[in-house]
Structure formats: C-alpha cells, structure tokens
Symmetry: C2
Subunit: 217 residues, 2 copies
C-alpha cells in the first residue's frame, strides 16, 4: 500500500528564488510582479476550465496543472491564502476567495491564530480553522484525508514551515524565467540537501522548467 503523502503542486518560483513578490496587499495579493510567476499556469486548459473560462492550452504545462489540481484527500493552507483578513475574525462573512463552490472538494485546514467555526461550502469543501500549529493541522488533515494524499497549497511562509520540519514528501515547482528581486524566498536558509531532498524529475516546457523534488529514503 502506498503511504499517503504531503505534497506541494504547481508552485512557481522566480530565477532568483522568490515565490511571491514584495509589497503584498489587496491590489497585489502575490506581491509586486508576483502574477508574472504564474503565466505558464493561467492559459492551461486545467485552469481555464476550473475557472469557467472555457478551454485552454494543452501540453506539458497543462499536464502538470491537471495533476496538480487533482482532488486531494485534504488541503492545508496558510491563512493569507484564504483571504485578506488579518487578526481576529470580525465576523463570518469572509468565506475565501473562491465563491460558493471552491476548487478543493475536500476538507481544507487553514492555519490561523484566531479560532473560528468551520465553514461548509458547496461541492465538498469545508474550511476548518486550526490554531494549534502546523503539526496539528497535518494530523487533522491526515485523519480527514483517510488514506489519500494531502495538498499543501501555500503560501511561501507556510511551505517554508513545513519544509523546515522535513514534513513535505514531494514538491512540484515551476521555475519561471522572471526576476523578482525581493519578496518571499522559498528556500533561503533551508538546507534542502541536509533534509534529504533531491530533484527526481525535470521537464522543461516552452515557458518554465518543471521540477519535482522529493525526500529520499
């Protein structure tokens, strides 16, 4: 039996290693020029269909996008990926960026310092709010996933926390030919080799270099 894994998919970084640009705010949720990291992803058929825009491109980029968007047993994400609200929740009106039928279709565990009751959306997505840290969130996600893989959606600081503890089993990165100069650096100060990570696959498309990193045995 395959062991269920914790994985990161479709995660783009710049040539200089940033997963988000500087100056993140409501107008620039991915930071300045952060959107430029995802130009391989947006045109894909997987993304276009997911967002109700019709058909998109096929090929290597779409193959990765499709695989990366496959339904997981559970998801984990940092609170800033869930929305722009900071501090304690003023009320329950914010229900994520994704409208009533979010594209997860599974339990999603939101890391936060502020308690909140779970929110059930359409299509099988339920947002749970975990105050007890990354290990507790992973434990709850594992239980909810019931043997299926768990997807760690981001953002950068959440991925860094899980990486530093060696808890991520597999990451798919899209190395994107842009320079951001500043922002949130994915790997700085994390000894990926020391933690046992290796690059196990590299597949260039005409836009990015897709790489898969995994923990060795």
């Amino acid at each position: 039996m395959n062991k269920a894994i914790l994985k990161v998919n479709n995660f783009s970084i710049s040539i200089d290693g940033f997963g988000a640009g500087p100056g993140q705010d409501l107008a620039n949720p991915l930071g300045i020029n952060g959107m430029s990291l995802h130009q391989w992803f947006f045109p894909t058929d997987a993304f276009q269909q997911m967002t109700g825009r019709g058909r998109g491109t096929t090929g290597i980029d779409n193959d990765f996008a499709v695989k990366g968007l496959e339904r997981a047993g559970a998801c984990i994400m940092g609170r800033n990926m869930f929305g722009p609200v900071r501090g304690s929740w003023p009320d329950d009106t914010w229900r994520g960026w994704w409208e009533e039928d979010p594209p997860f279709h599974c339990p999603v565990f939101e890391l936060t310092n502020h308690a909140r009751a779970s929110v059930t959306m359409r299509g099988g997505t339920t947002f749970h709010f975990v105050k007890e840290g990354i290990h507790a969130a992973l434990q709850q996600a594992r239980q909810a996933a019931n043997g299926m893989d768990i997807r760690l959606c981001g953002g950068v600081s959440t991925i860094r926390q899980y990486l530093q503890e060696g808890l991520i089993d597999q990451m798919h990165l899209a190395i994107t030919p842009v320079i951001l100069g500043a922002g949130e650096h994915l790997f700085h100060g994390i000894d990926m080799a020391g933690l046992g990570y290796k690059c196990i696959q590299s597949t260039p498309s005409d836009k990015v270099m897709h790489v898969v990193i995994a923990k060795g045995e």
Copy 2:
C-alpha cells in the same frame, strides 16, 4: 557602435540558487556536489574540443557553450578560480589550472590581495594580478579589451561583488535540476529587480533551463 559589455557566461546554479556547493577544498574545488551543476556543459562539443577530448554533443547546450567560450577582449576572475593557493604567493610556480595554453587567449585579470608579477602563458593569455579591487580590475580589463567584451568568469563571490555594484551588463545562467542545500548562493540579498535586471531570454534544453539576464535601459 555597440558598447563593449561585461558579461557572465555558462554559469550554472542549482534549483535552490547555489553556484557552488559547501566545503570547497582541493578535492572538491566546486564544493560538495558542485560538479553536478555542470553536467550539461561537460559533454558539449565546445568543452570536449577545448579540453582535447575529441568531439562532443551538439544542440542547445552546445550552442550556449560555444557562445560562452568565444574569445573575449579580456577576462576577470576571482583568485580562487585561478588556483588553490591562499594568502601571499609563496613563489611563482602556480600558473593556473590550465597548463601552458589556457583557454582564454586574452589578458586575464585576477582579483587578489597579494601582489605578483604578470605571468605570460602560451596562446595569448597573460595573467595580471590586481590588488586594487573590482573597479580597478574592470578599468584595466576595459583598457586591455580595446573595445571588445569582457568576460567575468567567477566564482560566485566575485560575481556577487560586481552584481551588487550593478556592473554586469549580461548574464547567461544554466538553471540546473539539482539541489545543493548549502554553499555559495548567487543572488541572496541582492535585489536584482531593483538594480534594473530583467530576464530577456529563456531557452530550455533537455538538461537545464538557459536564461539570459540583462540590465534594462
């Protein structure tokens, strides 16, 4: 008339951004696993012929290798690229890694803290030793190059010094699908966007992603 530029060619970095591995010594001049960065380069026809091994591979990697090895008007390199001797020169016996006919065929300016008389090799290469810092070396190289481009050969810390001053006009990097985990990081702490650098070309081969970074106008 084109302005002569300062350029970096055929420079490999890992997925996590290192241009050399940790623990550099005589047995590992590129640091632990540092050689793995250059597996796209060694098989190329350009490298194989340069090192007298016969013919090598052709294609995208070789095209970049050929262009990167074109004769420049002058070269600049850090002292550790010239050889393993540290501190003051005990004598004049060390004449570089390259035997009697080094592959530069032009004046080569070595950054060092320790004065030494110039060394003339076969084939047009002369090693000059510059104690007065990176600006002085660039000035001398520009004069010697007589209107031709100047190649900055490395290593990482030398390239970082020139980058931080915004003195490099163009860099060709080969982003290589390996994880080093530690070593000499090329970009850490350098705001490449703030310095005006942009990615102007991206060409994947089956082994690496070649990118060209240049200063905007």
